[in-house]
Symmetry: C2
Subunit: 429 residues, 2 copies
Amino acid sequence: MERSIGIGLLGAGTVGGALVSRLIGDADAIAAKTGLTFDVRKVGVRDLTRERPFPVTEGLLTDRLTDVIDDPTVELVVELMGGLEPAGDLVLAALDAGKPVVSANKELIAARGPELIAAAERTGVPFLFEAAVGGGIPIIRPLSETLAGEKIDRVLGIVNGTTNFILTRMSEHGTSYIDALSEATELGYAEPDPAADVSGADAAAKAAILASLAFGTWVGFDDVFCEGIEGITALDIAFAADFGYAVKLIAVCERTDAGVSVRVHPAMVPLDHPLASIRGTTNAIFIEGPAIESLLFAGPGAGGGPTATAVLGDMIDAARETLAGAQVAPRIRFSPGELIDFSEVHTEWYMRLLVDDKPGVLAKIATGFGDAGVSIKSVLQEGVDTEASLTIVTHSASERSQREALNSLRAITEVIEVGSVIRVLRGNT
Amino acid sequence: MERSIGIGLLGAGTVGGALVSRLIGDADAIAAKTGLTFDVRKVGVRDLTRERPFPVTEGLLTDRLTDVIDDPTVELVVELMGGLEPAGDLVLAALDAGKPVVSANKELIAARGPELIAAAERTGVPFLFEAAVGGGIPIIRPLSETLAGEKIDRVLGIVNGTTNFILTRMSEHGTSYIDALSEATELGYAEPDPAADVSGADAAAKAAILASLAFGTWVGFDDVFCEGIEGITALDIAFAADFGYAVKLIAVCERTDAGVSVRVHPAMVPLDHPLASIRGTTNAIFIEGPAIESLLFAGPGAGGGPTATAVLGDMIDAARETLAGAQVAPRIRFSPGELIDFSEVHTEWYMRLLVDDKPGVLAKIATGFGDAGVSIKSVLQEGVDTEASLTIVTHSASERSQREALNSLRAITEVIEVGSVIRVLRGNT
């Protein structure tokens, strides 16, 4: 007993193309395993003339995107266009029309998640987005279902493959940031405009979604502190390795008694932490909670194949619920929660300074830290002629205090240069 | 708007106790996140007099286990007794009565899965068992939902924490098998009777479940080839390390054109494979497919806390579907599939021989392999006085041929001893 589901697809780029090819090529296997066949009725695209990696039958493609939603034979809408608009209004229209939606659009969900989830709840249809974070890694569903009963403390993620590829090249081959970025672009890992990747914005959208599901408190894209990898040098990475750390762009979602904080920044990750060994474009997510202790999920974080698998899993699930004819409640309810202002978030800092090698300099620096209320965990001083290089790791202090200390250092005349400042990933809570 | 769900619990040992404590202690957090409260109405136990880690109100406990199912206020049955009977008939009775069931009972599911799933389908209620494999690691749901559209080729797992702890101790401290096992028992990782762990039977039940969900073909416990770790020595592990391998008890679920094969045995795992670095009682599951490439899931594979989280996730999901009032179809349908007889499964073997150090011995040995149709990949010969130690790694050949070669070696008079024989984990498909 097979049931056929009419699919409307918005966007037919890398992931959309891979998805339609799979729906055709693997149709028998999918039907055998799930009892479902997916029949693509309409594909909304911007450019009708572009070559597609699947057979384009008469009337399949349209550039009037609302036709995809309005087509009465479309029972399930799959949004793979990306970007805020027109994707957002199309998804909303589909949900309002009582059609389940599967989306891979992290940017949209991080920006308009609560509104879209509320729309889905109103019409009682599934709105699923497993592919929005971690590509082929199952993470949305485990967070929102399997771990729904866990009081998650922290989620750490390497959720942008491009930057992890760049940092891996810099670490393993001493490649400069610029050269590693060029390599990533040549290999097709980085977009022609890599700004969203290297600035951390892509990771920040994913962090917002992970935090929202983990803590049941909605965190928007604008709530995420974000610092990119543009300032990281191969020298920083080499120094970090000497200190027993790898440098990674990490999404940190944390809940403490004071509230929730979410941030993306380069971090010194202890070499024995599972995230330190995640290489190349691989993504990984690490979840900590009092009962589950820690869980690691790792796999390909992007690419047509893996992402299409995640989308397909959601389509099967949405179809299954829809065919049951029930108005199934959303998986997670969001409650208001306290978001901690980033200036109040406590972090450990690692920094390198170049100073005049004169007596009393270290005392001045130590006073600067002390006055700001930041205590120093370790100092390594190495002479370089009449200058000295100081590598300082602080204890945990608020970002406000750390910045204050940093500013006081800059005011010391013997401090020639304040080099890299990188936050240190705190161990398990 | 909160909905209360009446729970009947079968078994209140480590996991059951942890679960009830959580349902009480975390009730507010669970309600906020899911809109559900769970009200434990009946707890079926064998011994009414035993101390429990939760408040026992009048009438809560019963040793008439069918009362738990029959109680009209029980809407959802949670089975945490373990073992085949009476658990099996109780679960079946609950499903037949139209009550959703959440179970952590790997043994039962590996033995009677199809029958229980069919019963759930008949009455249209969820039958969920996330906690049956990998403790707190979300794996059942990702396999049966997120990856439902992937043609999975292979699932590899370290799914028994006790044996992984023992092998880790032997590897890192050179501890003998017997001493490492005693340690595991003292620390409470091994059962008083550790037979099911060290023989691989516990892992085999989990392998059967993983394979069934991954391939959509039901594999029963009796279909799994199983070899334990009792014969592994610290010397084997030290030798393996010299060759670039870790020795791990691995569940291997494979699908090739010839069919499905499922087995549990000690394996030489290349040190750069993610499973090689899984230490102590941690479990890990590695999934390979053409689109998703490879995914790794790792975390605590046992213990009250992690397992209770997995059970709770299933309870939330079952409640959600049940409250929707729909008869939701089972997640995966099983189709008949070819199971390959273990003698036809192709593996690589590693073995150590002690031989008389005489001319012509290696030729005889090589002939024995050749006649059996097994080709040799590498030989390392080291002299020990008048004897020589030979370490041989073969290319892939059928188990039948490998055994034939092994028997021919045993017939060679210069072969003093055939030491350990350990299968080598093949790289990515």
